[in-house]
């Protein structure tokens, strides 16, 4: 027998010996706890686990509920991005809040100004823009007052604030003027036969009176050439009035030919396209002027209250403007009927 064969045989014998031993060892798996003990211990364990759970203190329970362990189950990049976004957003909101009451010379003042500029850029409604302009002018006046109240008041800062205040006020004035340049709808009375035939004149009159109220805001502005209501309404002719007893169909003449003379029609068209200045917006413009005058006299409290007044007027202007836009065409034609005195006659 060769040496290599001898080695293989010895290795095989050794390996077989190991194998047998391992087989014997595996049989020791038969060592188990008794089924009875296992079952009893299971019950004890369950009791203890459930009682341990219920006896957790309030502090532990709150700690468990509020813990951020759920974050551990999320992918780490997602958690990192979430936290970064939260920090940036939270930081932004907090710094804007903190900057709200800052005055020139403070670190966060620049954040306040930036916030104001951003608001201005992101606002598209003219009324809101005017409102913002007044708010910012109000802020400048307030800052000026605070700066001057400080013992270490800097003349330069105060001067700069006055300049800024003027700028803001100029912008606000411009906005108010733009609001006034708004062109109202050209009021063209429709022929009555286009009006819903189912409407009774009583109903129409009801609407007429409301519309009359709406337009009344523009009445009395003759100096500005606003005569929307008056231009349309003409005195009824005697032959056009239908007596109730006759119960005839009203023959409403074409407004352009019967209610207006040719020469007057041009005037009316021209007058309706002219700018409408409400009392409120005019008042706001006046209040702004007064605020500037008051600032020049260094009466800051009065300036602030005047600006608030202007702001209130701007808001009211916004409301009136909304109402005007709703004034329907039908209103103008019914005005005609009202003026013609056919109050009780039914319309076919």
């Amino acid at each position: 027998m060769r040496i290599s064969e001898c080695r293989t045989l010895l290795f095989y014998l050794y390996y077989m010996e190991d194998k047998e031993l391992i087989v014997q060892l595996k049989k020791l798996k038969e060592i188990k706890p008794t089924a009875k003990w296992q079952e009893a211990n299971r019950s004890i364990l369950m009791n203890q686990i459930y009682s341990l759970g219920s006896h957790l203190g309030v502090r532990e329970t709150v700690k468990t509920k509020l813990s951020l362990r759920w974050l551990a189950n999320l992918p780490q990049p997602a958690v990192a991005v979430f936290l970064i976004v939260m920090v940036i957003m939270g930081g932004g909101v907090m710094s804007i809040k903190a900057a709200k009451d800052s005055i020139p010379g403070e670190t966060l003042y620049i954040a306040k100004i930036l916030n104001e500029k951003t608001q201005q850029v992101l606002t598209f409604n003219e009324t809101k823009k005017a409102h913002l302009g007044l708010t910012f002018a109000h802020n400048r006046a307030k800052e000026l007052k605070e700066v001057l109240e400080q013992t270490e008041a800097s003349a330069e800062r105060a001067e700069q604030l006055v300049i800024n205040f003027r700028k803001e006020l100029a912008i606000a004035r411009e906005r108010i003027a733009r609001m006034n340049e708004r062109v109202p709808k050209v009021v063209t009375p429709k022929p009555l036969n286009e009006v819903d035939a189912n409407l009774t004149t009583d109903e129409i009159i009801g609407e007429t009176s409301e519309e009359g109220q709406v337009f009344s805001a523009n009445l009395g502005k003759e100096d500005n050439g606003i005569q929307v209501g008056e231009a349309v309404i003409t005195e009824p002719k005697d032959e056009e009035i239908v007596p109730e007893e006759q119960e005839e169909v009203i023959e409403i003449p074409e407004p352009a030919t019967t209610t207006l003379e040719e020469g007057e029609q041009d005037t009316e068209q021209a007058s309706t396209t002219e700018p409408v200045v409400t009392e409120e917006s005019a008042g706001a413009a006046d209040a702004v002027e007064e605020a500037q005058a008051l600032l020049e006299t260094q009466d800051y409290d009065a300036t602030l209250s005047k600006l608030e007044e202007a702001d209130d007027l701007i808001e009211q202007t916004g409301v009136v403007k909304g109402e005007e836009e709703v004034a329907p065409e039908i209103g103008t034609s019914t005005d005609l009927i009202a003026e013609q005195g056919t109050t009780t006659t039914e319309v076919n």
Partner: protein, 190 residues
């Protein structure tokens, strides 16, 4: 369902402190933990007590920790079992020593789990079984532990390495030496 997936499911639920999952874990590992403890302490009653403690301590650990340090439930249970046995030895060092070192002279001193199970009838011969159990008790604690984990409870090298806090290479060497030592003891008996 494969055993691995089942185990992972249980472990995932345990991370959320699921009590029912812990009961399932008990059902799955009570026997192997008992056996591991039994070969360490050498007595049935002690093994039962310690096994109960192991599961309670594990539940307590799960309650207070996020289980990040453990990749499997098995490694956690065996680690808790090892530490509990060490605590047990510390408390009753003399008693434990006597049960392991002097109690090997008579087979009756080694309390086999349950006589009713008729273990001896299930293995080849009574002599082989007796010799093996006795020689196991003669082995160094470290070797005995390695043999129980590898050949009786059938953990793989990676799992044993996690339980014993050793590298896989060290575990292979340890198992080789343990088996060699046991073989020598058995052959000496012959």
């Amino acid at each position: 369902m494969p055993q691995d997936i089942k185990e992972k499911q249980i472990f995932f639920r345990l991370k959320k402190r699921d009590k029912e999952a812990f009961v399932l874990a008990y059902d799955a590992y009570a026997e192997s933990i008992y056996r591991f403890v039994y070969f360490k302490v050498g007595g049935q009653e002690e093994a039962e007590d310690i096994t109960s403690q192991v599961f309670l301590k594990t539940w307590d650990y799960i309650q207070n920790n996020n289980l990040k340090d453990y990749k499997t439930l098995k490694s956690l249970l065996y680690k808790v079992a090892r530490n509990t046995v060490i605590d047990h030895y510390r408390k009753e060092s003399r008693k434990a020593e006597s049960s392991l070192d002097t109690g090997v002279g008579d087979i009756n001193d080694v309390n086999i789990a349950d006589p009713a199970q008729d273990i001896l009838g299930k293995i080849s011969t009574k002599a082989d079984y007796e010799i093996l159990v006795l020689r196991m008790c003669d082995l160094k604690n470290e070797y005995r532990e390695a043999i129980v984990l590898r050949y009786i409870n059938e953990l793989n090298i990676k799992e044993i390495a996690a339980v014993l806090d050793k590298s896989r290479g060290n575990v292979r060497v340890l198992i080789y030496r343990a088996l060699k030592a046991l073989k020598e003891l058995v052959n000496d008996e012959d």
